[in-house]
Symmetry: C2
Subunit: 419 residues, 2 copies
């Protein structure tokens, strides 16, 4: 037992990210870069899971797999009946991922425990590192699946019944890869939950910051929009007789820009990411377009106001372009604020470490937003290089960025575990 | 020999359209309607060709197949060395066609000759009914192929070398289906060329007209546009840091509308028919979009002015949205005016028959625009039901509409053949 403070070993942490990154590795044909594909409940995900379970066993953790395949590695506390301090995230990935998204929270949690081991520290409370099943939602269509089941937002049977495009169920695939556990899936409330994650955006890096203390996850609203016009010959159909579904979609896209430019919706972000015209030929006026609208806002009331204006505009564009516009809500979550006390403690730890930091809202969803319904929860964001690109082999946080983020988590986790 | 005027037998003409429509017939899965698929130089096209050659032989015509597969059925004149009066069009089709596009011009020409036979008429000049190879261009990428070779706009070897998606050449496919003829492919100038065609647009029907006298084929300009922006996370990327290729495409689409609304470009039509974002996911800002622009104008000078403004806008939108816009010209033809004298004679014949008619510009390309470079040429349009839909199993002209259009062609063809 040393007298210095426990500290993160940057090389050890980064080497563990590199090692996990080799599980499910592939080479991107266009760029030649090495990426990661550990789509949930595939063989590659199973290999990643076994790799991390091995790391947990090496650390002497008690490993539990619950009925939805969430994995918990538990380090005993001096008063082992107390609610644990939990750290975690996910290790499943989108099909074209880098090495950091999710993995940093899980391997960072394990590095925190290694740092305690280095110093022979045994805090009062038990400490748990978790990785949750299918955070990405790419395969079975529902993101944050494992953590949502753990906190009771999604029922176990409902989760089991979800299918991929080949009709394989979550339950069958969990059983097939050997991660259909027997432990109770509803999680007993931890004392607190902390998650370190790559920002997946450009803000911290652009502002020259070392880390961000996440204030919460912004509200999300997704629409799938179908515009039915009339297919027509581009050469023979007079402009005034057209019902051009493509023009209607263009008007909706630019309306999103107008709403943001109006300044009336605060920190709103809005995106038309998909647009598919039918038949999609150079000389045919598009008769039908399906497109998507993605709205984000850290303020629930402003989100609702923006949604109302967007939907009203669907009706307006239908009249204007003589098309029929129908839409359905494909995702909707409210703003999830993180615990103010934990945010203050993370900020103080960052200041004490001499790091440049600022509060930041999360634009993406994370397991932490599910845990926030169960216990005091907070997140640390580390900056991403290359404009913060993520879900891409170019995703990158440096050794120092990872060390700094996990180091701040270590300080607060240790303090929480002594409470 | 009777003393009445020769006249079109509406039932006989319509029955011949129905009979040819059964060659290459298919049932549309979604609507249950019967459509036609006689893609150029397929087995179905070959069957259609043999069917029409049979009709020509039944009429005692001398049948010639040239080196590009154009088929000419010739009826001798009293002074058989004179240049013939030619009527025609095409019998190949898009993969989802109706029974009228092209076929009306060919079978209408044969019906004109039948009407002469009925009356034992032998005009001074020979008369020829032609069907030209691959007018649609769907399979080998170049429309009006056979007629373009016949008038010398496209070289024979260049046409032969064109390939479909499976790499099969025009020459090999002509040989395979038995229509690689030996006759000279460069056509000796006919005395005149007439073509009756379905309008493929809504104008005649909307105006309550019985037929249209076509003034010419409008100029066409196609651009394939590639917009390179930056893929980014829709939740985490601030609006002011985005390079959204989808928004840039939307601005181009609406710019086309603005140019038309300005009234500065006459009868311009403009369409963005194709738009494909990459990666095309709900929560990703599109990093790249390919899209198409289709411009039409009956006035060459106005077309050039519109093209200049569209291309200037590509640069403007590139600056505005911080994207790169590149484009290439995928098709360009000038306005082709038809012969004013022939137009006047068609109009006079229509008036004499008590038909409501008007001049109309052709929005689509036709074999007649190639023949117009060789001899006095004109076209008759007959109205289309269902808003003039074409390239679709719902394409429809009525028995009376077909009779009236071909009847006017008969009057003018007969007069021309006596000159």
């Amino acid at each position: 037992m040393t007298t210095t403070r426990p500290r993160i070993d940057a090389d050890r942490l980064y080497a563990s990210l590199e090692a996990l990154g080799r599980v499910g590795e592939y080479r991107d044909e266009r760029t030649g870069l090495l990426g990661v594909n550990r789509l949930a409940l595939t063989d590659a995900d199973a290999a990643g899971r076994r790799h991390v379970v091995g790391l947990m066993r090496d650390l002497g953790l008690e490993v539990t797999v619950d009925r939805i395949g969430n994995v918990y590695g538990r380090r005993a506390g001096r008063e082992d009946d107390l609610a644990p301090v939990m750290m975690g995230s996910h290790i499943d990935s989108v099909p074209t991922a880098g090495r950091f998204d999710g993995c940093l929270g899980v391997l960072g949690g394990l590095e925190v425990l290694r740092a305690l081991d280095d110093h022979g520290l045994r805090p009062r409370r038990p400490m748990v590192v978790a990785f949750f099943t299918d955070e990405e939602g790419c395969r079975f269509g529902t993101d944050m699946l494992g953590s949502a089941v753990a906190v009771g937002r999604i029922g176990l049977e409902q989760a089991y019944a979800l299918t991929d495009r080949q009709g394989r169920t979550v339950r069958d695939e969990l059983a097939r890869i050997g991660f259909l556990g027997e432990a109770e899936h509803r999680l007993a409330p931890p004392h607190a939950y902390l998650e370190t994650h790559i920002e997946q955006g450009p803000c911290l890096r652009a502002a020259g910051l070392d880390l961000g203390v996440v204030t919460g996850v912004q509200a999300i609203s997704w629409h799938e929009v179908t515009i039915q016009g009339k297919s027509a010959h581009a050469g023979t159909t007079p402009m005034e007789l057209r019902c051009d579904a493509g023009v209607a979609a263009a008007r909706i896209n630019l309306k999103l820009r107008d709403l943001i430019a109006s300044g009336r919706f605060g920190q709103m972000r809005a995106t038309m990411g998909a647009i598919a015209p039918h038949p999609g030929l150079v000389n045919i006026v598009p008769g039908r377009v399906t497109c998507t609208v993605d709205l984000r806002n850290p303020d629930d009331a402003l989100m609702r106001a923006a949604e109302r204006e967007v939907v009203a505009f669907y009706d307006e564009v239908a009249r204007l372009e003589r098309v029929e516009v129908t839409w359905r809500q494909t995702a909707r979550t409210e703003h999830v604020p993180f615990d103010p006390g934990l945010q203050a403690r993370l900020a103080a730890a960052a200041t004490a470490a001499g790091l440049r930091h600022a509060p930041i809202i999360s634009g993406a969803g994370h397991d932490a937003q599910e845990l926030a319904t169960l216990c005091p929860t907070a997140m640390v964001f580390v900056p991403g290089e290359h404009d913060g690109i993520s879900h891409n082999p170019r995703e990158l946080s440096t050794r120092e960025q990872c060390r700094d983020g996990v180091g701040v988590m270590l300080e607060v986790a240790l303090a929480l575990a002594e409470e």
